[in-house]
């Protein structure tokens, strides 16, 4: 990374792309030494034809029906069978590159839902291997475009669902960064350097390393440093955590004024500060997010988080105000309701607590935005895949 910074912009892009290509390519070379396992009865070429023809669900269902073992074996067929399908029609190559990349992503969504994100019969090729391959196909199409951007947003949401932040973003800490390949979104940003949505994905991945907090809000963020001797691990670990947390905060803060992603950046920054024990900074960001929120979901999230953090600090009266504001934005939403009911009963108002709890049950099948807040944009994955499919269909 340090080397890259010393290059001019154009040279840096070339180097990074070369590195991005070299990393999976090396793995693929090793993989050729391992025989491909069968994927029968699945016919990848025919299934890609279906997908490219806009029969998306049929194609995805064909892979799902083939079962878990075939699904895992399929991963290593992409550079071979998948590539042969792309090359079969040189005149349609850009479109086939996009279709193959999009379909590969959707097959990994199936694998993730079965708990297979990192599970593979071949350690060289689990989900990351497939997505790396797909990203290379997109780069091969040439100038970055809307379809490639749609693919990257969907890929980030997919990885967020399994909380593989390391895959999306290289840590700031130089000890680990030196050993880590660049993240998927790091590479995407070389193609789309000023795209706010992709910058938010990078910042979100960086901040999400600190999402493991204790129920009382105390920070319990740790960074895996297993290869470092125990005698220096603690000191380096603290340093690394501070560096990574600061880097994540900087990435989010840089987006705080953005008209499209600023409110979410502030909300996530507020949460990050809370996990780091910076309560005043957390409150300032969440308050700003509430005042700038333009839609009920964003206002709800920021209000709920502010109420929750205040409740955790024992400031019940202020917490109740913000939780009530959250429920005004999104009536009956469960996280705010459960806390407000608890605080109501704590204050001796059992009837109010009961009424709030009952109202929350009336919002059947509703998913409170907080429940999956820590999984990045995974709740939007189906919407992002639909956008990607529209690009493939054009």
């Amino acid at each position: 990374m340090a080397v890259m910074r010393s290059f001019s912009g154009a040279a840096a892009l070339l180097v990074a792309l070369a590195l991005a290509v070299a990393h999976p390519a090396a793995d693929q070379q090793k993989e050729t030494e391992i025989p491909l396992r069968p994927i029968t009865p699945l016919d990848l070429g025919r299934t890609l034809d279906l997908y490219a023809a806009g029969r998306f669900d049929e194609a995805v269902q064909a892979v799902a029906r083939a079962g878990d073992e075939v699904g895992r074996n399929l991963r290593r067929h992409w550079p071979v069978t998948g590539r042969a399908w792309i090359d079969a029609e040189p005149g349609s190559r850009p479109r086939r590159l996009l279709a193959a990349a999009a379909f590969a992503l959707e097959t990994e969504d199936l694998r993730a839902e079965r708990g297979d994100w990192r599970v593979s019969d071949n350690p060289l090729c689990a989900a990351a291997c497939v997505l790396d391959w797909a990203q290379l196909q997109l780069i091969e199409r040439g100038t970055p475009d809307r379809a490639e951007r749609a693919w990257h947003l969907a890929a980030a949401a997919l990885a967020g669902g399994v909380r593989d932040w390391r895959y999306l973003q290289r840590p700031a800490d130089p000890v680990r960064a030196a050993r880590a390949p660049s993240g998927l979104i790091d590479r995407a940003l070389i193609r789309f350097p000023s795209d706010p949505a992709l910058r938010l994905e990078q910042a979100l991945a960086a901040a999400s390393r600190f999402n493991v907090i204790r129920e009382d809000g105390a920070a319990a963020a740790t960074v895996a440093l297993n290869s470092i001797p125990p005698s220096v691990r603690e000191r380096l670990g603290l340093l690394a955590v501070r560096q990574d947390a600061q880097a994540a905060a900087d990435l989010l803060a840089a987006l705080a004024e953005d008209p499209d992603v600023g409110v979410e950046a502030r909300t996530r920054l507020g949460y990050l500060y809370w996990t780091q024990g910076s309560h005043e900074a957390s409150q300032a960001q969440l308050t700003a997010a509430i005042s700038r929120a333009r839609d009920p979901e964003s206002r709800y999230l920021a209000s709920f988080l502010l109420g929750w953090t205040l409740a955790a600090r024992g400031e019940s009266a202020a917490a109740i105000r913000h939780l009530e504001a959250a429920l005004e934005a999104r009536p009956g939403s469960q996280c705010a309701a459960v806390l407000l009911a608890a605080l109501g009963l704590q204050g001796g108002d059992a009837a109010k607590a009961d009424a709030i709890a009952r109202a929350s049950f009336e919002r059947k099948t509703d998913l409170d935005p907080w429940r999956l807040f820590l999984y990045g944009h995974h709740p939007r994955l189906s919407e992002l895949i639909a956008a990607l499919r529209r690009e493939v269909a054009q």
Binding site: G115, V162, E215, D216, Q334, V338, K364, Y375
Partner: protein, 302 residues
């Protein structure tokens, strides 16, 4: 002090405030506290006890028990099933067990079913006993919102003259709740319910089903937290034991429900105790010798 609901307990009207310099005290008859008491010798309920067989202290002050009743009080039953990843392999059995449980209740009892996944769901809202209900329990690879679910169950306020029994089947590993352990513990002390939890861990989860990463992470000692909350209400966390076999939900429920129905309901009007704060309750039954006595540990008076 205005008239306010006496936390967690029943028909309550607290007296107006005493002079500020003095500790407010209950006057007799102005508030009634109800306590469910299970008296068991081994696995058998001790029957035919009278008010005079019990001694009860509120905040260390002996109280006069005004009434004891058994069996006749209608019950609101909340069944809570942890349907998140680790128990996802038993959903078919769970659906069958719920129908069996509905047949165990008496006609005046009511029932509801809560499940958890990425949210706490009221799969079956309050229904009269004997009602045939479609039980749509779907497998979810969700987070495990045990404390949030118990919290939503505990705040239910039964109609006067009814009791509330919560039976929860869970693997005890909370993940993602916004209700902290400390808050659950306090709410358990304020609830009118008796809560029994059954250790349902390792009971057929589908290991291949995705379980989401866990955050916020429960503080260490999740089992103690749940056991403590249950005991505060007069219930307990049941592990597998000589007296308790949780081989099926219906069987575990039947054991708890039969025990609850045979428990005594004591009523008293607090005398000579301060009006606010936590009131520890201690119930003894000298006539029952070494029988095991289980009752709520106290209540909050606001």
């Amino acid at each position: 002090m205005t008239a306010r609901a006496l936390a967690a307990v029943i028909a309550v009207t607290l007296l107006s405030a005493a002079p500020a310099a003095q500790q407010p005290r209950f006057r007799a008859v102005t508030a009634v506290v109800t306590v469910s008491v299970s008296v068991k010798r081994g696995n058998t309920a001790v029957a035919n006890l009278r008010a005079s067989d019990f001694t009860l202290t509120d905040s260390g002050v002996p109280q006069a028990i005004e009434a004891v009743s058994i069996e006749s009080v209608p019950i609101d039953v909340t069944l809570f099933l942890d349907t998140s990843g680790s128990t996802a392999g038993k959903l078919g059995e769970m659906r069958h067990d719920v129908q069996s449980i509905l047949q165990l209740l008496r006609s005046e009892d009511r029932f509801r079913l809560l499940t958890i996944g990425d949210t706490v769901n009221e799969v079956v809202p309050w229904v009269a006993a004997g009602t045939k209900v479609p039980v749509a329990i779907e497998p979810v690879g969700g987070i495990s919102l045990i404390r949030d679910a118990l919290m939503l169950a505990l705040v239910h306020r039964p109609q006067p003259g009814r009791r509330h029994l919560i039976v929860g089947m869970t693997d005890r590993q909370d993940c993602g709740s916004v209700v902290s352990s400390a808050l659950l513990h306090e709410i358990a002390g304020r609830s009118e319910a008796v809560m029994h939890l059954v250790d349902y861990s390792g009971s057929g989860g589908d290991p291949r089903y995705r379980v989401r990463g866990c955050s916020p992470q429960a503080a260490p000692g999740g089992e103690e937290v749940l056991a403590g909350a249950a005991e505060r209400t007069g219930g307990e966390l049941h592990g597998q034991s000589r007296f308790f076999r949780a081989s099926s939900i219906a069987r575990a429920f039947r054991t708890i429900f039969d025990d609850f129905r045979q428990s005594y309901v004591l009523r008293y009007s607090p005398e000579g105790v301060t009006a606010g704060g936590w009131h520890p309750i201690v119930v003894r039954v000298p006539a029952a010798g070494n029988a095991a006595i289980r009752a709520r540990q106290g209540y909050y008076a606001n």
